[in-house]
């Protein structure tokens, strides 16, 4: 009897022990599951934030594009066509020599307007840019800038060239365009240097000028000025393709912009 009661007590204690183990396991599962649940939610939130950022960047790019088109039409194409109209208006049949000169001038002006429109169209066409590739698209931009004969432009390619993903090429090209616009508008530079670094593990585009430069610390100011917002937008865009965007400038000594992207060419 004593032995039986002892055995029963041992069995009950063992059962309680196993019950506690079972409760412990369930609690552990609950805690771990809750943590994982939180992790999944955070991941989802990050994804949503990232998509929001992409959308904001797209809207911003669209806004800039509209502004760019408006400026191009107003400053270039509109001016040239107005001049062509003025030339046509002042044509008089009296002097055939002057008339021929004015007809030639009008032809040239209309030809320039067509060329400007073509360049504008190419600049805006995403398929055209991704089709040509980053390197050729940048060279085309430089060719247009060289025609203005205001800048001494040098292009260097280090390493064996390769193509990047379409999205990466497009975003880097848009950043390049903005950097170029900034140089034209604000830098008062005379020389522009563009270097492509094709390395096996990374790609880097470096754009430098010998302009007036600016104080980089102004970018850190809380109330962002126009320059700060522009740089921030370029940095955001670079982040979208996991690229690093750095800007270095000394007042009076020019500016260097670097866009570095990790790649795996294998």
């Amino acid at each position: 009897m004593g032995s039986l009661s002892q055995q029963v007590v041992v069995i009950i204690i063992s059962s309680v022990f196993l019950l506690v183990v079972a409760i412990g396991i369930i609690l552990l599962v609950l805690i771990y599951q809750k943590k994982q649940h939180l992790y999944v939610r955070e991941k989802e939130q990050l994804k949503v934030d990232f998509e929001k950022q992409i959308l904001e960047s797209k809207l911003e790019i669209q806004e800039q594009t509209f502004k760019y088109i408006s400026q191009e039409i107003h400053d270039n194409i509109g001016q040239v066509l107005s001049l062509a109209k003025l030339t046509i208006n002042t044509m008089a049949a009296s002097d055939p020599k002057i008339l021929n000169e004015k007809i030639d001038s009008s032809k040239n002006l209309v030809g320039k307007a067509i060329e400007d429109l073509r360049n504008l169209s190419r600049n805006l066409n995403t398929d055209y840019i991704t089709g040509l590739g980053l390197s050729i698209s940048i060279e085309n931009e430089i060719k247009i800038l060289r025609n203005a004969a205001q800048y001494e432009i040098e292009v260097i390619k280090e390493g064996d060239p390769y193509r990047l993903q379409h999205q990466q090429e497009l975003i880097i090209f848009r950043i390049f365009q903005e950097v170029l616009q900034n140089i034209i508008k604000h830098s008062r530079a005379t020389c522009i240097k563009i270097i492509f670094y094709y390395e096996p593990s990374s790609f880097m585009l470096e754009i430098s000028d010998n302009g007036i430069g600016f104080d980089v610390s102004r970018l850190q100011e809380k109330n962002k000025n126009q320059v700060g917002i522009g740089v921030l937008n370029m940095r955001h865009r670079a982040n979208l393709v996991s690229a690093d965007f750095t800007i270095d400038s000394i007042p009076g000594k020019g500016t260097v912009v670097k866009i570095k992207l990790p790649v795996n060419i294998n």
Binding site: L4, I12, Q36
Partner: protein
């Protein structure tokens, strides 16, 4: 009176609670796995109710336990089989079903009708269900989704199974041995001790059925 209730009547009551929990589930989702377990628990509630009646009439009721062993194996394992997404999980369930069924056939062939409870069979079932519960928890942690774990009826049921089957393992394993030892000197005190032990088993079973019922009500309330 209370002792009799815990040792004898709590078992059919627990199976009845399981049946109610599964009846509630059937009203929400008409899955085969839920229907199978509902039928099993309904049959078990009736079977163990009859077993309790036999106890009051001082008749042997062990055959009911030994008979309901196989339906328990098949229905519970079927539930796990339908709950697991992956082939590996389903293969583990098939292995345990095969193991239990082979054991049942061998037992019937070698021993025929047993006068004491089939301890080995029930402890095998206990180990099988506990192992499958671990596999379920592993699957749960590997595939985290937006749904909260409390809103998942499988979690409630399988947690209750783990508590009951793991907690009762030693009782199942040693109960027949204890019964066998005192078979020839079956005194009132010895019988009382064994009923205490079975009472502990019944409390675990009741706890398990209560968790399942609460889970069923909770999930039904939150998924309205």
């Amino acid at each position: 009176m209370f002792r009799n209730f815990v040792a004898i009547l709590l078992e059919p009551l627990s199976y009845a609670l399981f049946s109610i929990a599964f009846l509630l589930r059937i009203s929400i989702e008409k899955q085969a796995k839920v229907k199978v377990l509902f039928i099993y628990y309904l049959v078990a509630a009736v079977g163990f109710g009859y077993a309790s009646w036999l106890v009051f009439r001082n008749q042997n009721n062990t055959w009911i336990y030994n008979l309901l062993y196989l339906p328990a194996v098949v229905s519970i394992c079927f539930y796990f089989h339908e709950t697991f997404y992956k082939g590996s999980g389903k293969a583990i369930v098939k292995f345990f079903i095969a193991l239990n069924v082979i054991y049942f056939i061998i037992r019937i062939t070698l021993f025929g009708k047993m006068v004491i409870i089939d301890s080995f069979g029930y402890s095998l079932l206990s180990i099988s269900v506990s192992f499958l519960s671990f596999v379920y928890f592993y699957q749960l942690l590997r595939h985290v989704n937006e749904l909260k774990v409390w809103a998942n009826f499988d979690f409630w049921l399988i947690s209750s199974y783990l508590l009951y089957f793991l907690g009762s393992f030693f009782i199942f394993l040693l109960y027949a041995n204890l019964t066998y030892d005192i078979l020839h000197s079956y005194t009132y005190e010895q019988r009382s001790l064994l009923s205490v032990l079975w009472g502990v088993h019944n409390v675990l079973l009741f706890l398990s059925s209560l968790i399942t019922l609460v889970g069923s009500l909770w999930v039904a309330y939150h998924n309205r």
